[in-house]
């Protein structure tokens, strides 16, 4: 075939290519902006801003998760996922409240297990700031039970698989 035409076509295609990636997403989140990949499963966290959970350490280091489920997997096996960190190094743990999509203190949150709302990794522990919110959600979305932060054990996690 004739090369000049092919090269002209190539120039055209190359010129077109940038418009393919021209799509820009404005950063919608306020406050904590999800970044990096999940410290447990490696998924890209900013892709799922509605579920992003974060652990902040005393020294300012952060670990992001694409959902509360991976957050708890991490917390329950810190030795495996962050060998250099201790539980007492953790300054704060934050999850996104389902109804407001704003970060709340994970230790004070209530989690609904077994609902029909799926997270990025399937079944999720859906977080709420208050217990009445969790109760309403449980009713609306056929949840099984409400668990506070302290009562989430490796056995609870088994039920999510």
């Amino acid at each position: 075939m004739n090369r000049p035409l092919i090269s002209l076509l190539n120039v055209l295609l190359l010129a077109l290519a940038p418009t393919l990636w021209a799509d820009t997403h404005p950063a919608a989140a306020k406050g904590l902006v999800p970044k990096g990949s999940c410290a447990v499963c490696g998924m890209h966290v900013p892709k799922f801003p509605d579920w992003a959970a974060v652990v902040t350490f005393q020294d300012g280091g952060q670990a992001w998760f694409d959902g509360p489920k991976d957050l708890f997997t991490y917390l329950q096996d810190l030795k495996r996922y962050a060998p250099k960190r201790q539980a007492q190094d953790i300054a704060s743990i934050q999850v996104k409240s389902y109804y407001t999509l704003k970060h709340i203190d994970a230790r004070k949150a209530f989690y609904v297990l077994g609902s029909d709302v799926m997270g990025p990794m399937g079944k999720e522990l859906v977080p709420f700031a208050t217990e009445p919110q969790a109760r309403d959600f449980l009713k609306d979305h056929r949840g099984q039970k409400i668990i506070p932060f302290q009562e989430i054990t490796p056995a609870t996690m088994k039920a999510l698989e």
């Binding site: 002209l8 120039v11 055209l12 010129a15 077109l16 940038p18 418009t19 021209a22 820009t24 404005p26």
Partner: protein
Amino acid sequence: MRPSTLCLSVFSALAALFVGMLLHARGRQSTASQERAGRVALVRSLGLTDLCLFTEARYTRHPAMADRHAAFQDHPMALDHFPSGSLLAPPLFPSPHAPLPPAPSQRP
């Protein structure tokens, strides 16, 4: 000059203009959010739901808010009185996301 030289230079000029067009489009896109800011502020503060494209009737001015069967007020495939009626596709009802009406309850 050979005709092919002239032809190739015309085509290179056209191709350069074409690339320039793509770059111009990208440039406008990158400043689009500033250009759009005034419109976005109005949409937000007034809670607007539609673009002001056709003002001839209420179901063409606010297609998203129109009565259930607008812009095809008589039946979904009916021809319309206005030219814009032929530009708007029939609404996609019943939509998969629209909530189902609750089952009729017993009346006292």
